[in-house]
């Protein structure tokens, strides 16, 4: 085992890149882009090193770094990596460079763009690796700053409003979470996730909180943390900030927001809410299941009504992420009940993790495709503004088609495996929820095929009538890696599942209420 602080390197290399870009005032746009790309690739390179040293059989965090930070407050700088974190670090490593490449062409002020992007990347990685609430929350909030500027400065017409709404709404949610953790800290004296989870598991957390503030205190704190995370994912109906933010952001930022940042919320649910508040989560699981179903079904139906393609893809993200939450809530719902097997729970949780990864790939690819439509037509992205793109650009149509079918869960592509496992698990835990969620599958197929039919099929029309180039060399670099992964992971999901199966098995094996 090397003594290098690998995880710190993973987190801070992008920040170093951002600082470097900030210092190099005279760098040309091309040099800035190259530098940003190289630094963003560091995550992928380092995660391959991590893969080499990672032992899937150990479910505890690995590569742990732990230093006292603010001793008086028992705040630790503590990083660690388990299968869940590894999956998301890999995803970040793949999506960030690809998103930077997708934005390479049209962005003004490449230096600032690259610096902000690297900051965003570093903050996301920090969230996926921190094991103590204090650094975790710092990264969590820090990610909003670059995201805000990326949307506001490079976004479309409504960008300012969308950026404000996005940031204020998320901060508003986070405030509740911060307050909740402050209370937790006062009651327990720690902010370490693992310690808190252990306290929760043996029931002493509830006692301490009750002693601190009364019987309902656990529920109040749970609600605070829940709101913070629910806004971030987002859980229906806390989702209204998402479509404008994703739609107004520049292509690369949309890709990152949906590919990586949307996973931060789900990660929070898995890392914080579920282990620390198993009891309250179980008590609320009926309602939460209903909300997740709302996201699955109504999210897909809302997507059907969108005429802005980016808003449509944004809604499909709401739908896809709601599957993740549906699975988690179903597991929580079934905890402590007789009947459901740990096999179903393992399927549901594996599905959640795979879905996070797969959605990152397919949604990023879809945003990249809409970006390519925009780049060719001076920013057009209306559902009715195209026609016959498949005639004009068959290769583009082929690659976009793979991404679309991956998104609608076609077997043989990556999206299916995660969705199948989620449905397999949820059916065993709460059959009715699975049956209702099927409507989401149907509606997804309906709006994606409508998108496909309007834009790609029919005679060339609207914005497609003029010159319409097929995929350019630089664009291959964006789409081909994503599409190749969709094909590979659809056939060989064990490449991912072997990393997470022991962890998921352990989770599914300890389904008890305190």
């Amino acid at each position: 085992m090397s003594t290098l602080p690998l995880l710190s390197l993973v987190v801070f290399t992008p920040f170093a890149g951002a600082a470097g870009l900030g210092l190099l005032r005279g760098a040309s746009p091309a040099a800035s882009r190259a530098l940003a790309l190289i630094f963003s690739l560091s995550t992928l390179a380092l995660s391959l090193v991590l893969l080499g040293g990672f032992d899937p059989a150990r479910t505890a965090p690995q590569f742990v770094e732990r230093h006292a930070w603010i001793a008086a407050l028992n705040v630790n700088y503590s990083l660690g990596l388990d299968g869940l974190s590894l999956l998301l670090v890999l995803l970040t490593g793949i999506v960030t460079p690809v998103a930077l490449l997708a934005s390479a062409k049209a962005e003004r002020d490449s230096r600032l763009f690259g610096a902000l992007f690297l900051m965003l990347q570093g903050a996301a990685l920090g969230v996926f690796l921190a094991l103590d609430f204090f650094p975790w929350f710092l990264f969590w909030e820090l990610s909003l700053v670059p995201a805000f500027f990326l949307i506001k400065l490079w976004g479309g017409q409504g960008a300012t409003r969308a950026a404000y709404q996005f940031v204020i709404y998320t901060i508003g949610g986070s405030a509740f979470m911060l307050a909740g953790f402050a209370a937790l800290f006062v009651a327990t004296g720690t902010m370490d996730f693992n310690t808190l989870a252990q306290l929760a598991a043996d029931g002493s957390l509830a006692q301490k909180l009750a002693a601190f503030g009364g019987g309902n205190w656990t529920k109040v704190i749970f609600l605070g943390v829940l709101i913070g995370l629910a806004v971030k994912v987002p859980l229906w109906p806390f989702h209204t900030w998402l479509p404008p933010a994703y739609a107004e952001a520049p292509t690369g930022a949309s890709m990152f927001l949906t590919g990586v940042m949307s996973k931060m919320g789900v990660y929070g649910f898995l890392r914080i809410l579920w282990p620390i508040f198993p009891g309250p989560l179980h008590d609320a699981s009926c309602w939460l299941l209903a909300l997740a179903l709302g996201g699955v079904v109504l999210g897909a139906w809302s997507a059907m009504r969108q005429t802005d393609l980016k808003r449509m893809v944004a809604y499909s993200s709401i739908n896809h992420l709601s599957y993740c939450l549906l699975a988690l809530f179903a597991v929580s719902y079934a905890t402590g009940r007789a009947g459901p097997s740990s096999e179903a729970a393992a399927a549901a949780l594996s599905g959640t993790l795979l879905q996070m990864f797969n959605h990152g790939l397919s949604a990023a690819a879809l945003f990249a495709c809409v970006g390519m439509l925009e780049a060719r037509t001076g920013g057009k992205r209306g559902l009715h503004e195209f026609g016959g793109v498949r005639t004009a650009a068959p290769i583009f149509a082929g690659l976009c088609g793979v991404a679309m079918f991956s998104s609608l869960g076609l077997p043989g592509l990556n999206g299916f495996v995660g969705e199948f496992l989620i449905f397999r698990g949820v059916f065993g835990l709460n059959a009715w929820a699975a049956a209702i969620a099927c409507l989401g599958l149907l509606a997804t197929a309906l709006f994606l095929l409508t998108f496909w039919q309007r834009v790609f099929h029919g005679p060339r029309a609207g914005a497609t009538t003029g010159v319409f180039a097929d995929v350019q060399p630089g664009e291959y670099l964006t789409l081909v890696p994503l599409v190749a992964l969709m094909l590979v992971l659809g056939v060989a999901p064990h490449l991912l599942t072997r990393l997470i199966n022991p962890l998921v098995t352990a989770w599914a094996g300890h389904l008890t209420l305190p």
């Binding site: 710190s8 801070f12 920040f15 951002a18 600082a19 900030g22 230093h67 930070w69 700088y77 600032l112 610096a115 902000l116 900051m119 820090l142 500027f149 400065l153 204020i168 109906p237 989702h239 209204t240 900030w241 479509p243 109504l298 999210g299 139906w301 809302s302 009504r305 096999e343 179903a344 729970a345 393992a346 594996s350 498949r390 005639t391 068959p394 079918f405 076609l410 077997p411 043989g412 199948f420 449905f423 397999r424 099927c438 149907l442 509606a443 197929a445 095929l449 409508t450 039919q453 790609f456 099929h457 029919g458 005679p459 999901p493 064990h494 599942t497 072997r498 199966n501 998921v504 098995t505």
Partner: protein
Amino acid sequence: MNLSVQYLWLIPALPLLAAGIGALTPRSGKAIAAGATIGAMGLAFVLSCGALVTALKDPAAHLVANFTWFELGHSAVRLGWLLDPLTALMCVMVTFVGLLIFIFSTGYMHEDANFTRFFCFLSLFAAAMLGILIANSLLLLFISWELVGLASYLLIGFWFHKPAAAAAAKKAFITTRIGDLGFLLGMLWLSDATGSLLFYDAGKGVLETSALTALVTQTTVGGLAVSTAIGLLLFCGAAGKSGQFPLHVWLPDAMEGPTPVSALIHAATMVAAGVFLIARVYPLMSADQAIATAPLHALSVVAAIGAITALLGAVIAVAQNDIKRILAFSTVSQLGYMMLALGVGSWVAAIFHLLTHAFFKALLFLAAGSVIHAAHHEQDIRQLGGLKGPLKVTFATFAIGMMALAGVPFVFSGFWSKEAILHAAHGWNVSHLPFYAGLVAVVLTAFYMTRLVAEAFFGQARSPASEHAHESPAVMTVPLVLLAICAVLLGFLGTPYWPWLQHTLDPKFHSEPGGGGLMVTSIVLVALGIGSGWAVYGRRLRAKASAPDPIEAKVPDLFAALAARLGFDELYAATVGRLNTFLADAADVFDRYIWDGAVRLLAGLGQFTGNVTRETDENLVNGGFDATSEQLKSTAKTYSRAQTGDTHGYLMLVALGFVLLVLAVMLGGTR
């Protein structure tokens, strides 16, 4: 030659490889794409024959090769291959018919700009279809099933620049997906109830005794046995794929695809996948037969739906004018027959009819393709006419296909397979209604096929297109001849006098005596259908394309209703379609006004509170405070010089500061 079950995967893998080659071949590489596709299919045919040899050594055995796809929890998701006579016979049929259709396509699609893409999609289809046949896992079957749906989508919409083709492709995908949701739920339920999705797995498979016993003894909503509920859910998928009422609406529209596609996918193979699925899981479907008191038997529903579909398809076919639509509704009707056979307990009769139908319906579609090719893409039978002269081979082979479909006795295969179905339906002790529906459909089938032949091939040419028609090249006619030969010979594998096929598929099969009277009845009915068809359309041949149909002249309302396919499309648009639009609208309005409105209201409230406090402050705050604030202001001005408004600077400082902070902490922490 033998092909052991371990290598069964080669059969779909070869076309899949060809699909990959086709996808990467540039448009100019027609020979490469077609060569790879045909070569792979030819090899797959040889391998399928090898598999058949292996399977026939012990027809009762289910040879399996299972393997782990990926680990899940303490167990694993397993897939596998299965070789038994059902698999092997279906593989031989699909590869052989597919091969002939591929060869035909090289002629038919010769001038298409996307020729290579076409063969890529055909190969993809073949691979997925063969995957369905060799799957020993419901999950693998489902995966292949959906890929078949994808290939069908791509091929129906092959001429995607035509809006009608693009719409038909989407309609097919969505309609079958509705059925597939049932399939998915059934599969989930089965997996949850048994912990496995393998069909045969040394006693632990879902089609083996212990799992079936467990499924029958558990009950669920409404007193149904769990096996019944799962069976009905799986049947939803089968009904979607096989164009059964009420999900039949996509199949006629699928005729927007190139005609070889209609022959291969929407007549011979894919649409039969639903029938195959039910035959494959027959032990599960029929498990509830053991409980006589069950409120509902899964197979009774299958029989009812099959009977309705058989009748419905035949009735609507009578009033269609497009040569391909007539054949499409005939396919719907024939698939109904197969489901009927499954429902009344004779899965071997269903598979027998599936096999004969694959040959004669592929023949009919390819011959129709030859007609369309010769007549410059004219598909309206009123515009055709007089083609028996110029298109001799096409006419002769079409006539053989027509007689096989109509069930002309003794010589033609369709007679024997349909006879087997009617025989089984007659012996069904639950109800005789399916049997009568089948008999009526016999008359109608003979009638509408006679109409089609009389209108298209007899009389005089009624349009310039049919006047200038000339016979298709040998690459198209030779497959027709081969299929015609099969359409005759295949029937002799399953006659009551030598039921080889039945015994091979099901070694426990025993033919029941006393089919003679039934046979006479159906011969009379076929004669009645052909005779009346000829009396109406053949004796007085159509002179002008615009002349009304004789039936239309007699009962215009009925004819119009049938021509409009009894309004199913309109009904669905008015109900399901409108509900869907309404829900989408509602979801969108909720988002825009209720949820977002609530957020904006909250933000507005915050702003309002801010304004109120500001006003209060300004009015109540006295001069002393003002002076203090002046002081503050000037100090702030000094500080605000640091605020350059340069976002570069800000962000650089934020990033730098953060890095420094963490570095300091790390260094401090290690001390």
